[in-house]
């Protein structure tokens, strides 16, 4: 007791937080009872001095707020409640008293009697208009808590409570308080007897509708417009009694509001109408529909239109859903759905007019309502459209009719797709008519695409069409695809193929029996001649179709058989005189056939089809056989010795072998290394053409003819895809790699052979780096000085050696091997060597670039972010090198070349932080004569332009210089390559978007004048960019 008095006295004097803390701890430890504090406060609570009185109550409230719940029992709460309630009538103590009550109401020991006392005291004494918003917030919090914990006590008060609350809540404006008020109002509306107060409750809720609040900047409470909207909506749809009053408000706001108000109103209507009930919806349906119709047929914007359609759907659903069981036949549909439907059908009499689109949207919205309305709508709309289609006077309007029909069919499909139970598709009664219509529609060019969309709608509807009908569709579209007289284009082709692919996913039989034979038979046995461009285009089109369709396992099997047979026939013709003087068309044709297989395989690999692996036995040995056989007689069977054919065959082998399990790969690798060591090809090649039994393919032998050495890529393809677990069947890897490398630089005849050898080496290094330390050491310390740094050999040879170096380094780099650093750093050593410095510079970029050999799919060992790591390591060094003016110019240039190629090859995040230092260097790069480098620089700048604000402000500093450079690079007189002119123009178009107007506007007139010249560029693609860029500058205003 004494300590309580002491603490109170000290606090009254000081007002410090410590005393409160101490009191609270005394209370928690039961050394002071709450009642002691009240006693100790005695004189202050009754003091004449307003300030002292308020302070006294405030102290008590502060202590209560922090005291643990266990310290309050029923009687203390009761006493305190009465105490605080008596303080509410005193204007000086009302604020701390409310604070105290706020604490008390949260206590579980606050009884219903206390609750009643509190709420009555609030109603009696609190005048909301006299209080600031934070105090009003306390009042709302008290009521909210009472509502949550003592709802029954409030209910017992009945109308007194509602009347009291109404007077408290009226006129509230603060958003934080409103959120609470809305929550309270929702409970009242749902749980209390509001029959006498509907109008008043309507007034205190609908007066806020629609919410136009815009949160102020730095709002401490973070209340958004949407929070308020949701809160208010929860009130508006809380009671059906609001209905008759609400509808006129909605209609008024809908006609008068801004777009965002309209959307809010429409969304609110959609949540309210179901609550307000079907009777009201039916009575006011017409009025509502008239308002909604306006938003649909003359929409302010697409979003509002969509909301209006949703609301229409809800309206119709509300009217009809409860009587669903009573609606058996279409005649039972009366009222709004019938009227609106008829209205829309009337508009659809002119399907080519612009109003037809919104009309069909309304009908589609109806499809998503109740089953009976959907049935009714379809029964009106589909026969109408079908009849219109068949009307000879409307022939010219067939395309739009079909498009409308497609929309309707899609809506019918989606309306039943959500339901879990099996329902028969709504379209069943009309499918024969529609099939008839599309079979006519497919015949003419203009209506073909629309007809295909109708078909797509039909075939994507579950259990609508029978197998025979699907077969009929396959027949129809295949016929359309092949028809000679009408001109097809890419759009209709891809639509046809997507129809066929969709069908073959469920039933492949029809495509297999009807489409494939036609496609295969239209591929000629020999290539079209050089001049026959149209025929060639037709071949390609058929191949594209095959590629799209034959991803399906069964169809792919047929594709492989048919196409490989054809390739065999072209490459090794039966009769000798079939060999043409000009082999190129046939070579290109064979290439396109193989490419089709490769592309289809690639799609299958991406889709993870398991049937890919079986082609190691069916396809791969045949390819080896064909190419080895051809290489034996390179003058006679010249076609399969073409580099491009060998490359694409290598791709096929890579695609198949990468999918094999380890054991099967091991078998394949053993056969390949058998070829490498002994030259015996019979373990791997097997096919129609007979390879002489004693033949040895000695790839790495100097004396072997070029045509045979050219086959290396086919064998490399099998090795680079091997898992690292696959054992390589050779005694010492070091020696093998060493030989292969020497061969690539000394004995290889062309780039095909060289690159293939490097791929082989790189992949083996990557997967077996642990086993080849002596090879790696040897390269670093001897090879480099012998083949690269050696100034006595021809620079061409040294350039090749650098390429080999890149591949060795890459194998190490992607797996973050410790020696990678030593390898990559060697390149900088030759930057001062004029004859190869440029190549060494570009090599830095190639190291960071992504390639097709060392990939996850090929089971390479790759560490994440290896490229970033590399860039982070070398970039500072390169920047320093390029900036260092003490170096000779050609060495600086080499650094610049390294910089541009590195940046172009690496991900943006890797160099973004260096942008300030990079910018001046990139500008210098734009002065280098090399076209590729300029293009790289501009592409880097384009990528940087998409970055954040800091990078964009960096651009501002250099804006006028950039404009000058880009203009120069976009003129045909200054820059002959359109690969530079196009990105330069694009960058000019980006600048106005990222640079502030006041910085760039001095350039505007120059840019517009200079670009006028570019408009006359000889190349159409450049002119297109120039037009777009110039348009952007015309619109560039402050």
């Amino acid at each position: 007791m004494e300590s309580a008095e002491r603490l109170v006295r000290t606090w009254m004097a000081s007002g410090r937080d410590e005393e409160i803390e101490e009191t609270v701890s005394e209370v928690s430890n039961d050394r002071i009872a709450l009642i002691d504090i009240v006693k100790a406060l005695g004189e202050y609570l009754t003091s004449e001095d307003d300030e002292i009185r308020a302070k006294g109550v405030d102290f008590l409230s502060s202590v209560l707020a922090r005291s643990p719940v266990a310290n309050f029992n029923r009687s203390s709460v009761h006493v305190l409640t009465n105490f605080y309630c008596s303080k509410l009538d005193d204007t000086e103590t009302i604020i701390p008293a409310l604070k105290g009550l706020n604490t008390l109401t949260r206590l579980p020991t606050c009884s219903s009697i206390d609750a009643t006392t509190i709420i009555q005291a609030l109603f009696r004494h609190v005048k909301m208009k006299a209080l600031v918003h934070s105090v009003r917030f306390t009042v709302f919090s008290i009521i909210d808590t009472l509502m949550a914990q003592n709802r029954d006590a409030l209910k017992a008060l009945g109308k007194t409570f509602i009347a009291g609350y109404l007077s408290l809540a009226e006129g509230e404006k603060d958003p934080r308080n409103l959120l609470l008020a809305f929550a309270i109002a929702r409970v009242i509306l749902i749980e209390f007897d509001i029959s006498d107060h509907i109008e008043s409750l309507f007034n205190i809720t609908f007066c806020y509708f629609p919410i136009t609040f815009r949160p102020p900047p730095n709002d401490p409470y973070g209340i958004t417009t949407d929070d308020l909207r949701q809160g208010l909506r929860a009130c508006l749809n809380a009671s059906p009694s609001f209905g008759p009053l609400a509808v006129p408000v909605f209609l008024e706001k809908l006609t008068a509001g801004s777009p965002s108000t309209k959307r809010d109103t429409l969304q609110t209507m959609a949540v309210c109408l179901p609550v307000y009930g079907s009777t009201l919806a039916r009575v006011s349906g017409r009025k509502l529909w008239n308002a909604l119709k306006l938003e649909i047929f003359q929409p302010t914007d697409p979003l509002t239109e969509e909301e209006a359609l949703k609301t229409t759907r809800v309206l119709v659903e509300t009217i009809y859903s409860h009587e669903e069981d009573a609606l058996e036949s279409n005649d039972d549909i009366q009222g709004l759905a019938r009227d609106a439907c008829e209205e829309c059908i009337h508009i659809l009499r002119e399907p080519e007019k612009s109003s037809a689109k919104p009309a069909i949207k309304v009908l589609c919205a109806f499809m998503a309502t109740t089953p009976s309305v959907s049935r009714y709508t379809l029964s009106q709309a589909v026969p109408h459209l079908v009849k219109l289609f068949l009307d000879p006077d409307e022939v010219s309007n067939r395309p739009p009719i079909l498009l409308l029909l497609a929309d309707l069919i899609n809506a019918a499909r989606d309306s039943t797709s959500q339901s879990t139970e099996e329902v028969s598709p709504l379209m069943i009664p009309y499918k024969d008519d529609v099939l008839g219509v599309v079979s006519v529609g497919l015949k003419t060019t203009l209506s073909r695409l629309p007809a295909l969309s109708v078909i797509r709608g039909l075939i994507t509807t579950k259990s609508l069409l029978s197998e025979e009908e699907l077969g009929f569709i396959v027949h129809l579209v295949t016929e359309t695809f092949q028809s000679e007289d009408s001109d097809n284009d890419d759009f209709s082709d891809s639509a046809i193929l997507s129809v066929l692919t969709t069908i073959s996913a469920s039933v492949s039989r029809h495509v297999q029996e009807q489409t494939l034979p036609i496609l295969f038979s239209s591929l000629p046995d020999t290539a079209p001649t050089r001049e026959a461009a149209a025929e060639r285009a037709k071949c390609w089109r058929n191949l594209l179709a095959l590629r799209t369709l034959c991803v399906h396992p069964e169809l792919f099997e047929i594709l492989v058989i048919r196409l490989t047979t054809k390739v065999d026939l072209i490459c090794v013709p039966k009769a000798k005189d079939d060999i043409e003087d000009d082999p190129e068309p046939n070579t290109a044709y064979a290439h396109s056939l193989l490419k089709t297989i490769a592309d289809t395989l690639s799609a299958k690999v991406d889709a993870g089809h398991p049937d890919v692996t079986k082609y190691i036995d069916r396809l791969v040995p045949r390819l080896y056989n064909l190419f080895i056989y051809s290489s034996l007689q390179p003058t006679k069977y010249v076609i399969a010795t073409d580099h491009r054919l060998i490359s694409v065959a290598g791709d096929i082998i890579m695609l198949v072998t990468q999918c094999l399990p380890v054991q099967r790969q091991e078998k394949c690798i053993t056969a390949i290394f058998e070829v490498f060591s002994s030259g015996d090809v019979h373990g791997i090649a097997n096919g129609l053409q007979t390879i002489p039994p004693g033949f040895k393919l000695l790839l790495f032998n100097e004396a072997t003819p070029t045509a045979q050495k050219n086959l290396l890529p086919l064998f490399t393809a099998g090795v680079v895809t091997a898992h690292k677990e696959v054992r390589l069947p050779i005694p010492t890897l070091d020696t093998f790699l060493d030989q292969a490398l020497t061969w690539s630089l000394v004995h290889a005849d062309n780039d095909l052979q060289r690159e293939s050898a490097w791929h082989l080496i790189s992949s083996i290094i990557n997967k077996h780096a642990e086993d080849i330390s002596s090879f790696l050491d040897n390269q670093l310390n001897h090879y480099w000085y012998l083949r690269v740094a050696n100034t006595e050999i021809a620079s061409e040879k040294r350039q090749q050696a650098i390429q080999a170096w890149i591949w060795i380094s890459k194998g190490l780099l992607v797996r973050n091997h410790p020696m990678a650093v030593n390898y990559t750093d060697r390149l900088f050593e030759v930057f001062n060597d004029d004859s190869i410095s440029w190549d060494a510079g570009k090599a830095i970029g190639q190291l960071a670039s992504v390639d097709v050999i060392l990939t996850k799919k090929h089971h390479a060992i790759m560490r994440i972010l290896h490229a970033q790591k590399f860039v982070n390591r070398v970039l500072p060094h390169i920047i320093a090198g390029a900036q260092d003016s003490s170096r000779p110019p050609h060495e600086q240039t080499a650094y610049l070349v390294a910089l541009t190629s590195l940046i172009e090859a690496s991900p943006k995040t890797a160099y973004a932080h260096e942008m300030p230092a990079l910018m001046p260097l990139l500008l210098r790069g734009l002065e280098l004569p090399d076209v590729d480098i300029r293009a790289d620089v501009i592409k880097t700048l384009l990528a940087a332009a998409e970055g954040d604000a800091s990078e964009q402000s960096l651009v501002s500093e250099h804006a006028s210089t950039l404009v000058t450079y880009m203009l120069k690079n976009s003129m045909v007189e200054e820059m002959s390559s359109m690969q530079v002119r196009i990105p330069a123009l694009r960058y000019l178009g980006v600048l106005p978007k990222i640079v502030r107007y006041d910085v760039l506007h001095p350039c505007k007139s120059i840019v517009l004048r200079e670009l006028a010249k570019v408009l006359d560029d000889p190349k159409r693609l450049v002119r297109k960019e120039a037009v777009d860029t110039r348009t952007i500058w015309f619109k560039y205003n402050g």
Partner: protein, 174 residues
């Protein structure tokens, strides 16, 4: 926006198929997938032709509807003629009393002013017999001074810009 809507429910046509240039087909290589990079040959000149000019104006928005001039068949490729340095663009209003014709013509004029090299002389005309005040509109559209005066009017330029927002689509939906 004017209060009167001249044609509340116009016919919307499906866009014409993009016409492939025959020369492109013949320029194709023998090899499949070989044409991704356009040829660098500095000598080949693509002349500015009817299709290119149509591409420039086909996606201009109609002032009255959310449709392009192409969709409403106000402009079409055959209605454009290129003869040396002379371009002739003809357009068809959707209804003969269309009060928007001048605005449409002005939009076309502005688009071509900005997009064609200076060496071209552009004539813009209504299709003969398609409009009740054909002569007046033609005169207005081809009078340099009156076009220049119109472009001094900020409100008018704003409306024209509105029509030109979509012009860059060149027949593509978005």
């Amino acid at each position: 926006m004017p209060a009167e809507i001249f044609n509340p429910n116009p016919i919307v046509f499906s866009p014409a198929k993009p016409t492939g240039r025959l020369a492109d087909l013949h320029a194709q290589s023998l090899w499949i997938n070989d044409t991704t990079e356009p040829e660098e040959g500095a000598d080949d000149v693509d002349p500015i032709d009817q299709d290119e000019i149509f591409d420039l104006i086909r996606s201009i928005n109609d002032p009255e509807h959310p449709n392009t001039l192409e969709e409403l068949r106000v402009v079409s490729a055959p209605q454009i003629e290129v003869n040396g340095n002379h371009v002739m663009v003809e357009f068809t209003p959707t209804v003969p009393h269309c009060g928007m014709s001048t605005l449409i013509g002005l939009s076309i004029r502005v688009r071509l002013l900005r997009s064609l090299p200076n060496r071209f002389k552009v004539d813009i005309r209504l299709k003969p017999g398609s409009h009740q005040s054909e002569l007046a509109v033609n005169k207005q559209l081809n009078d340099k001074e009156r076009v220049a005066a119109a472009l001094e009017n900020a409100v008018l330029v704003d409306t024209v810009e509105q029509c030109l927002v979509t012009a860059g689509r060149r027949g593509h939906p978005e």
